[in-house]
């Protein structure tokens, strides 16, 4: 890879930039990158794997930088001259230097920025489906297998009558029926009907084949054993999309679980994309909790939640930990209407659990639109399917997920 000499933009906060700079290092540079950056800029460089939990990526002080050695990248709180000096280096160890942006600068052009999306009334469809461009999409996820790993499903719900549903319980002694409601809710958002009986439209991939794995009991309790068994089943059944609206808290500075990363990477290689919630442990603006397990694996797509004004939900966790703990996309996650087990039929909910199946449903639309894109290729397409949001990348990733048209 050759690098052109570039003149960096000023990179000051207020111009869409944070005032900090991102540096991409040659693959395999490892910890040696800290010395390279130190010599080139004079900054004090910390290494992410030395995190002791007291340092937040977002609190990087002027004159400091952090090397994410696993990623081969660094974040520098440098002044423009220091960054320009680095950009002017002619060796092959630093591949790219660019200003850090509040929102991602590039992506598939899918329309206006999200702030200009008009939200009509919700008599025909939920606000979430309108904000993410579902109603005008020509795709329905037809022929795409979508797995929902959750508390199960009420298969007799009238909105799912006649649908092809394959199901399996991984909770000992319990059938796949949903005695909780969370699973039916998530399945409803990802794959609910085009024309529900008594509700505005709330479902996205109404043409998809539903694969329901009950991995949580009716109290919504479960453990790795259930979830991994559900992922194994979904991969074996060639599900292109696997939505898992559950999580377990992690501490600031925690790395991702290696078993899950292996599993998620193998799922990608087999053509299955895992999508998981950032978690609901934040109490903004005072406290922001890091993205939870298992979403914090690099190979899993992480989803945060926004409200009807497209502002970050106060409970939504943020991308505080490096190496997979970043938020990838935001999706509607407050005041969401979806299906409920009989006799209730419909319910309203909030959470990154509700945001995650919006992304899963849109991933199914993308899979239908791009028949050869599976696994990592589908993930790459999904991460380009967004509208920009005026919020930090830490909180919304690239932006608000948006359906292919």
């Amino acid at each position: 890879m050759t690098r052109a000499r570039i003149s960096l933009p000023a990179g000051r906060a207020g111009s869409g930039h944070t005032g900090r700079h991102l540096v991409l290092l040659k693959e395999g540079t490892g910890r040696a990158g800290a010395e390279i950056l130190r010599n080139a800029t004079g900054l004090r460089i910390a290494v992410s794997s030395d995190f002791d939990g007291s340092l937040r990526q977002t609190q990087l002080a002027p004159g400091h930088g952090m090397l994410f050695e696993r990623l081969g990248a660094a974040l520098l709180h440098s002044d423009p001259d220091q960054a320009q000096a680095l950009a002017n280096r002619t060796d092959a160890q630093t591949l790219l230097v660019e200003p850090e942006r509040y929102v991602r600068a590039s992506g598939l052009a899918v329309g206006p920025t999200a702030t200009t999306v008009p939200l009509a009334d919700t008599t025909l469809a939920t606000w979430g489906l309108q904000a993410t461009g579902i109603l005008s999409s020509r795709y329905s996820g037809r022929g795409i297998r979508v797995a929902i790993l959750d508390t199960g499903l009420d298969p007799q719900h009238p909105d799912f009558a006649g649908r092809e549903i394959v199901s399996q319980s991984f909770v000992a002694g319990l059938p796949v029926d949903d005695g909780n409601g969370h699973g039916t809710f998530c399945a409803g958002v990802a794959c609910g009907p085009e024309q529900p009986g008594q509700s505005p439209r709330y479902g996205i991939a109404f043409g998809a084949d539903l694969y329901i794995a009950k991995v949580l009991d009716d109290n919504a309790d479960g453990a790795d054993g259930n979830v991994l068994a559900g992922i194994d089943w979904a991969v074996r059944n060639s599900c292109a999309v696997i939505s898992i609206s559950l999580g377990a808290p992690v501490a600031l500075g925690d790395s991702y679980p290696h078993v899950y990363e292996q599993v998620a990477a193998r799922a990608l290689a087999a053509g299955s994309l895992l999508i998981a919630p950032a978690g609901n442990e934040s109490q903004r603006p005072d406290t922001i909790a890091p993205v939870e397990h298992p979403a914090n694996c690099p190979s899993i797509v992480v989803v945060s939640a926004v409200d009807q004004c497209l502002a970050v939900a106060p409970f939504s966790n943020g991308g505080l930990n490096p190496d997979g703990g970043e938020v990838n996309l935001a999706a509607p996650g407050i005041a969401i209407v979806s299906s409920a087990p009989r006799p209730t039929l419909y319910q309203t909910g909030s959470g990154t659990s509700m945001a995650t199946p919006h992304v899963a449903g849109i991933a199914a639309l993308l899979a239908e639109a791009n028949p050869t894109a599976r696994g990592a290729a589908l993930k790459a397409l999904l991460l380009q399917a967004f509208l920009e949001l005026p919020a930090p990348t830490r909180d919304v990733g690239a932006g608000l997920v948006h359906a292919p048209q």
Partner: protein, 94 residues
């Protein structure tokens, strides 16, 4: 974070605390995952399931034997099983 299973306690001065574990088998060892499982069983794994499509063994082991399992050829990671909860808050049924 690990979920303990029945049998916790001390016996003869040794900890018999058993923990549920997930064991990731290396990519190059996935074709012989059953051999890896047999080796782990011989080292104290109470083996409950083999997830062949994702290359994972599930089971429980005495806490003291965790590091032994990590040294088994073909094993890339051994982690304590975590408990999950849902990440949604339902406001009401309409």
């Amino acid at each position: 974070m690990g979920r303990s299973v029945p049998g916790d306690g001390l016996q003869g001065g040794y900890s018999l605390r058993r923990v549920n574990v997930a064991i990731a088998v290396a990519e190059e060892a996935r074709e012989r995952i059953y051999e890896v499982a047999a080796t782990c069983r011989a080292l104290g794994l109470e083996h409950t399931s083999t997830l062949t499509d994702i290359g994972v063994l599930m089971g429980s082991v005495e806490l003291d034997n965790l590091s032994t399992l990590r040294d088994v050829p073909g094993v890339v990671a051994v982690e304590l099983e975590r408990e999950f909860r849902i990440t949604g808050i339902r406001a009401r049924g309409d």
